[in-house]
């Protein structure tokens, strides 16, 4: 293996592919070759760095310099100036990074400032398609530790319980407890499922983990399988995520080849089979029982709970269903210990959280930071503030099944507990920012339309309720609101909350109620103007 003085990383995701990253890669390699630099400088593909909408991104290691909007005719200049003469091409470099170059600690890498990366630590520095790189950078070490330290499944569960890790899919249920219930449930046949049916509008964190570090997920699922006593597991990935499926399949194949999956993992006799199941376009399948139905090859109709999947899940056997981000925390917890994990984040919600920052912000994208980071910091520091010097109006937290917050709640700390106290939710970690020109009525209309489309139709409250809410909001939006509309909306949403079969019908109450309460005047005005 040769040693290179410099690595050039090209993050590959949907955005950079559209901007022509592969063309840039070919060009880069041929230009390096023409200058006989191919043995000194290596070009690598990595997962997404979390910065989006900036064209092809190219980062130079160990210098930690990021170039945005790289075009084919910039390449010669980057090679001549930066790689040969060591001078940063300032007009292409990401602005905050130019300042960063002085100390070279990398402290400001990311959008505009430091990020603590636990889940996404390797996602943009390692080529996810090359298991050797993954192994060299510490991949599968937690799995190794379990066997070399002879940790029992109970000890693994205990460590996860002590870490305080809570489900990152939105509900925030303690992961260790879920595993314990599954392990203790009667029956010899058990399953572990990774919920990668990421469909919450505004969320793409799981996609970046699947594409950027699929091996971490395999390692985590193998550890989970060992802990709960499962011999077989599934990653259920939504059908639209072509690149995620491709990368994950490649990682599974490589792990099998290296005895990190299969009949005799690390020659310990432990056996675990992992398979991908592809979804086919249904938001409802993100709900765990609907996901299980879909995985069994049926319509994705949710089941009545209880019984919960931990006792009767896939094929009625005890099953642990965990979100991608939740699982991606496991290797770090096992490697570094629960005490280390508890030092990050807040007391009741330890660890980091991946947030997607969207809408009217300067730098839309993805960040990973400590649980409990104030919303203001996420929007203004990481997201660079409101685009075009406009004023902040609202943020929709947690996707469509989320909550509208007004300016008075900008200082809320972003974790399960604090948000709950403020009648909000963390959900999937999506932060959709809206500027002063945004109509909340119009945004609620978009949400209502989404739910009416995605309701599976199995239970009446959700099937009819979503439609009724859409009709009323549509009417208000086109200026035909009536007195009492706001009350009717609330009543409908609350009835759905109480009587719907699954979280889909139950969650529309959150955007409806928060929009009506936090932007009361706007709705009142819209309705009173229609009456004239």
């Amino acid at each position: 293996m040769s040693i290179y003085r410099t690595h050039i990383l090209l993050p590959v995701d949907e955005g950079t592919v559209q901007a022509g990253v592969f063309e840039i890669k070919r060009r880069l390699e041929s230009e390096l070759k023409a200058r006989k630099l191919q043995k000194e400088i290596k070009v690598l593909e990595s997962g997404s760095v979390g910065i989006v909408g900036k064209g092809v991104i190219l980062s130079v290691y160990p210098d930690r310099i990021y170039y945005f909007q790289v075009k084919a005719n910039d390449i010669a200049r980057i090679i001549e100036e930066h790689l040969l003469k060591g001078r940063i091409v300032a007009d292409l470099a990401h602005a905050p990074v130019a300042a960063m170059a002085a100390d070279r600690t990398g402290a400001r890498v990311g959008l505009t400032r430091e990020q603590r990366r636990v889940v996404l630590d390797k996602a943009w520095t390692v080529d996810p398609r090359n298991i050797n790189e993954v192994l060299a950078s510490g991949g599968y070490r937690a799995l190794e530790k379990i066997f070399s330290d002879k940790l029992s499944p109970e000890q693994v569960i205990e460590e996860v319980k002590r870490s305080g890790l809570r489900g990152r899919g939105g509900a925030g249920f303690p992961t260790g407890m879920k595993w314990e219930f599954t392990r203790k449930a009667p029956g010899a046949e058990k399953y572990i499922i990774c919920n990668a049916d990421e469909g919450e509008p505004g969320t793409f964190k799981d996609r970046l983990i699947l594409e950027g570090d699929p091996h971490k997920l395999i390692e985590a699922m193998t550890i989970a399988a060992y802990a709960i006593g499962a011999g077989c597991g599934y990653v259920y990935i939504r059908g639209e995520y072509g690149l995620s499926i491709e990368r994950m399949q490649k990682a599974i194949d490589q792990a099998r080849e290296f005895n990190l999956l299969g009949k005799n993992i690390l020659e310990t006799g432990f056996a675990f089979q992992l398979e991908i199941k592809k979804g086919a376009g249904a938001y409802i399948c993100g709900e765990e029982t609907a996901l299980i139905e879909s995985l069994e090859g049926k319509r994705g109709n949710p089941r009545l709970k209880p019984p919960y999947p931990v006792s009767q899940g896939l094929w009625q056997k005890p099953t642990a269903v965990n979100n991608v981000e939740t699982l991606a925390n496991i290797p770090a917890i096992i490697s570094n210990g629960a005490d280390w994990f508890r030092k990050i984040g807040t007391d009741k919600c330890p660890g980091t959280k991946v947030f997607t920052i969207l809408g009217h912000v300067e730098y839309p994208g993805l960040i990973e930071t400590d649980m409990g980071t104030p919303l203001r910091e996420i929007i203004f520091s990481f997201g660079g503030g409101i685009k075009g010097g406009k004023k902040f109006k609202a943020a929709l937290l947690g996707g469509a099944a989320g909550v509208f917050l007004s300016e008075s709640l900008l200082d809320v700390r972003m974790d399960f507990e604090n948000l709950k106290e403020n009648k909000a939710v963390l959900g999937s970690g999506a932060v959709l920012v809206m500027n002063e020109d945004t109509s909340i009525v119009d945004m609620l209309f978009s949400i209502a339309k989404f739910f009416a489309h995605e309701s599976c139709g199995q239970c009446a409250p959700c099937r009819i309720g979503t439609r009724q809410i859409l009709d009323i909001v549509y009417r208000i939006r086109r200026g035909a609101g009536k007195k009492g509309d706001a009350e009717t909306l609330l009543q409908l949403a609350e009835t759905m909350f109480k009587s719907s079969l699954c979280p889909l019908g139950q969650s529309l109450v959150m955007p409806v109620k928060s929009a009506l309460e936090n932007f009361k005047d706007e709705f009142a005005l819209a309705i009173s103007q229609s009456e004239k």
Binding site: G15, E200, G202, G239, A280, K298, L358, G359, A400, L432
Partner: protein, 152 residues
Amino acid sequence: MKREKILKKYDRSADNLLGILHDIQNASSEHYLTDTDLRAVADYLGLAYSFVYGVATFYTMYSLEPRGRYLIRVCQSPPCHLLGSTTISKELIRLLGIGFGETTTDRLFTLEISSCLGVCGVAPAMMVNDQVYGNLTPELIAEVIEGLRREK
């Protein structure tokens, strides 16, 4: 025969239904499942035809109607809505002369509404077959459509 070959790749286990439907539809140049496909799959897996039909019509990625060579899926979820997907949708309808769920008479384009595509950082976005297009503007759409028309 393409379909028989696809079926043979899979065990006769009901949980393979979604995967089989995906493969058969992907092999179809018109991106859809025929009635004969559904019956063959039902026979192969030992399922009722009505059950297979129920599954094929539940999920938005499957179609029982022939679709154009280019399947355009426009995201209208809240993040894309906020950044102008309504304008984008109107422009596509104008350029192609069809509504959502319809196919152009030259069988080149089908227009569909999609749930969140998970590329919200570049909203508003759409997918044409497997390719994502983000930061859409009416000009960019015209360019993309024009490019695809030329490619035929």
